[in-house]
Amino acid sequence: MDAHALEAALRPADGEKCVFDTNPVLNERLTHYCPGCLHGVAHRLVSEVLHEPDLAPRTILVAAVGCATFTYDYFNVDGLEAPHGRACAVATGVRRARPEAVVFTYQGDGDMAAIGLAESLHAANRGERITSIFINNTVYGMTGGQMAPTTLLGQKTTTTPEGRCLAREGGPVHLAEIMAGLEGVAFAARCALDSVAHVRAAKKALRRAFEVQIQNLGFGFLELLSSCPTNWHMDPVTAARHVAESMIPVFPLGVFKDKAAAPSGKPSDAANESEHTAGGAADA
């Protein structure tokens, strides 16, 4: 299809409406992700959540290291690079300097659950008003398929050639459940990106993960089960099926904590918890 034909095709005809379009928060650059990698789906969901209430103009993205290093290339928001694992610490500095901003980190499993576990848990425990999106695909993607903290038992990686062994490497880290146990966390959930229904549910959870930040309730955390067709040595469709068949039984989906959804319908202790971002550091 040439450019003119495409342009014509993208115009709704009489009696037609566009039911799926992109949005201005996601820029038009083609991602560097491998074919079928679900990072792209997660990016789109983030862009939609930042677009629909028009949060983007006050959003600061803190990017991690891994496949998501170049996340900032795909969003039309201010972007800041963090060293490997340190995104939640960098985001803490951003949040304390700019209390009016919407701050989020986008991190892979190695970044957030291995090298950056301390920074992630402590930022969460402090109840920093940031939102962290955690992409769990059970493997180090960028470096070529080594074991991640979330690697499934028995899963073969380049550094667990015989498969991950509980006695030797320990078991997969369940970060959403750990996060839910911390006082400062206002929302913690795990969703998956393997199917249309799951992607739609993930968007709802993602919105909540940002809402708790904006409502000053605390740390918002969303784990997204994703795939890595390249390092799993699977075609993308098989990889998505693998998420459903092998990951979800180990990493159950669900909302593990939502402070705003207290039975009374009232956000719990919101007033008391707004204290530490009440005074901003920036006044420029």
């Binding site: 709704p12 009696g15 039911v19 799926f20 079928g36």
Partner: protein, 74 residues
């Protein structure tokens, strides 16, 4: 009839859209974009559900749903 438009230069040929389509109307086209990826095409009646677009990691799909002009009757 609803329709799917592929932004072919964005497509990486992953076929997640083909697998997601509940009507089974999407298929590889045998044509390749300038990156060397085989692009998909619509081959059948589309319901306009946009499942393909929801699963597309590269935001390469737009969906246009035909809307029955109920308002006209009012």
């Amino acid at each position: 009839m609803s329709r799917v438009v592929f932004l072919e230069e964005r497509c990486k040929g992953c076929r997640l859209c083909v697998a997601a389509c509940p009507c089974g109307i999407l298929r590889p086209s045998g044509r390749f974009n300038r990156h060397g990826y085989e692009v998909m095409e619509q081959a059948g009646t589309c319901s306009g559900c946009a499942s393909c677009a929801v699963m597309c990691p590269d935001v390469a799909i737009r969906v246009f749903r035909s809307v029955k002009a109920k308002e006209g009757a009012a």
